[in-house]
């Protein structure tokens, strides 16, 4: 198993009466893309701020790249790249100038043009940052995080406010980081983002980590029951319920069967349908999505 780049034990932080973090344990290994999921106000940014060295903790142990971020010096800062939740870049400098400026702060920066290429801003290299769209400005922000060629990157909600195509582009950039061998800790409240990018996910709610795992395993998702659904056939609907055993439910003119053995259930179901000459319109087999699991875990009605 690769070494832990981030190791957190029992991390606590309060703002006055409010306990923002109530004892968090976390390990992020080298080369991993790790996603922090959670509703707004769950403590994602507080936790990441402690790991970035911006915020002092009240208790627990935190080690990032072998050092305590609260006491880390400039060499450590050179090994960590970050995208903050909100940051407007200097509007009066061009994309290239911005990166040249930040490159000067690091001992071994990445080549400026290559970095611009990596985030897909080559055509905008000589445009002032103030003229870029929101998504492009965020990509410039990511480029600044990459320019120091840091081994560990903190990305706090890197795609919030993006349109769908800008998000896809940003995902490609983050995927590219995996190929560069970087370790990435990102926060998001988009399930599809975590599903698409993350090797492992931790769900945080009310200051506690309530589940950790791969996106496919989270909350026992791999073993969870599947749901087979189809439109209520015109003929004998009750006959199906009798013929195929299982946990049935119906809503909005469709029937659903919850089953731990989807292949067997499907076989029985389609066998019955063919034998009785019934068409099963809109037949679907679904496993619970990451979003379903997340909503169940966090107990929220709707994702944000």
């Amino acid at each position: 198993m690769p070494e832990a780049v981030i190791s957190v034990k029992g991390l606590r932080k309060s703002y006055g009466e409010l306990e923002a973090l109530r004892g968090i344990d976390l390990d992020v290994r080298r080369g991993e893309i790790f996603a922090f999921l959670g509703p707004n106000g769950a403590g994602k940014t507080t936790a990441i701020s402690v790991m970035e060295g911006y915020l002092d903790r009240d208790g627990g142990e935190v080690e990032v790249l072998g050092e305590d971020p609260a006491a880390a010096g400039r060499d450590w800062r050179g090994r960590v790249g970050l995208v903050l939740q909100e940051c407007r870049m200097e509007e009066l400098l061009t994309v290239r100038e911005t990166l040249e400026m930040y490159a000067g702060y690091y001992r071994r920066p990445r080549p400026v043009d290559e970095t611009i290429e990596l985030v897909g801003l080559a055509e905008k290299a000589d445009d002032r940052a103030g003229r870029l769209s929101g998504g492009q400005q965020r990509r410039l922000d990511v480029a600044v995080a990459l320019i120091g060629d840091a081994e560990l990157l903190f990305l706090d909600e890197p795609t919030t406010g993006f349109d769908p195509s800008a998000r896809r582009a940003a995902w490609q950039v983050i995927e590219g980081l995996r190929e560069l061998g970087k370790t990435v800790l990102l926060t998001t409240h988009y399930m599809d983002e975590a599903q698409a990018l993350a090797d492992r996910v931790a769900v945080i709610a009310a200051g506690e980590i309530i589940a950790t795992g791969t996106p496919d395993d989270l909350g026992g998702r791999r073993d969870a029951a599947s749901m087979i659904s189809f439109e209520v056939p015109a003929g004998d609907a009750d006959g199906i319920r009798v013929a195929v055993a299982g946990e049935w439910s119906g809503a909005n003119g469709s029937l659903s069967l919850r089953t731990a053995e989807p292949i067997r259930s499907l076989h029985e179901l389609t066998g019955w349908a063919i034998a009785n000459g019934v068409e099963l319109e809109r037949l679907e087999v679904k496993r619970p999505s990451l979003e379903d699991v997340y909503l169940e875990l966090t107990g929220t009605e709707a994702g944000s």
């Binding site: 911006y54 909100e86 200097e90 400026m101 120091g148």
Partner: protein, 256 residues
């Protein structure tokens, strides 16, 4: 990069941003030029008997004071608030760049712009109004300018801490300096200002800086032109600004 090279690196980008910012160029460069032309043309030939110089000779160092305070205190305060509230200051704090390099680049920018304004004002005064160019007192002028740049940049940093948002930066900054320009005799010759008001203005740094600059600029001044008494007041304000800055400086925006 070494420390000095890094300051120069930062200074280059500070310069780019300054000259591309219409507000900074207008208020720091154009505004003083317009004021000098206005005041010196209207009152330039009047004699200020208490000082024994004509008004044009008085206004050149007066408007230089305006330009220097604008290039230093006003600019630094506005930029620092923008840097902090945009999240860039916090981001910068996350890089290996030493803080003093960043501040050094900004002060370097303020000094170069101030020096440029001294040259422009001096040339305008000489060409348009025949104001004598001081030559013997150049070291005193430079030292006064350096002391002023340091003090007013440090006060700009301190002031930026008290400003809660970008929207509040222009009114708070202007409200701080504009009354002092009037009370300190920058716009109105000091012979027109009651003694009590001048004494009050002398408690603040703009008036003593102006007096030190006027001493070095006055053709009647004999000797090297160092006005140590007034410079000491300016330095004291600068030190106070540093102490306040070191005690209360914030990297992060108010929200988040």
């Amino acid at each position: 990069m070494s420390g000095a090279a890094l300051v120069l690196h930062q200074f280059r980008f500070e310069q780019k941003v300054f000259w591309r910012s219409p507000a900074a160029v207008f208020f720091t460069v154009m505004f003083p030029v317009i004021f000098l032309l206005l005041f010196a043309s209207l009152f330039g030939n009047e004699r200020i008997d208490s000082l024994g110089i004509d008004a044009a000779t008085y206004y050149v160092p007066g408007i230089i004071t305006l330009a220097v305070v604008s290039a230093t205190l006003v600019n630094v305060a506005m930029r620092m608030v923008e840097m902090r509230e945009s999240g860039r200051l916090k981001r910068l704090h996350g890089t290996p760049l030493p803080t003093w390099v960043y501040i050094g680049g900004r002060i370097g920018n303020a000094f170069v712009v101030s020096l440029l304004m001294v040259v422009i004002m001096t040339l305008l005064g000489r060409i348009l109004y025949g104001v004598t160019v001081p030559t013997e007192t150049i070291p005193a002028l430079l030292v006064t300018l350096l002391v002023g740049t340091f003090a007013f940049c440090s006060l700009g940093l301190a002031l930026s801490i008290a400003i809660p948002s970008e929207q509040a930066a222009p009114p708070i900054t202007n409200f701080t300096v504009l009354p002092l320009y009037f009370l300190s005799g920058v716009f109105v010759p000091e012979s027109e200002i009651p003694d009590g008001v001048l004494a009050f203005a002398s408690l603040f740094p703009i008036r003593p800086f102006f007096q030190a600059f006027l001493t070095a600029y006055d053709p009647a001044t004999t000797g090297a032109g160092f006005d140590w008494g007034h410079l000491a007041v300016v330095v004291a304000w600068g030190v106070a600004g540093i102490l306040v800055t070191m005690r209360y400086f914030r990297w992060s925006p108010r929200q988040g």
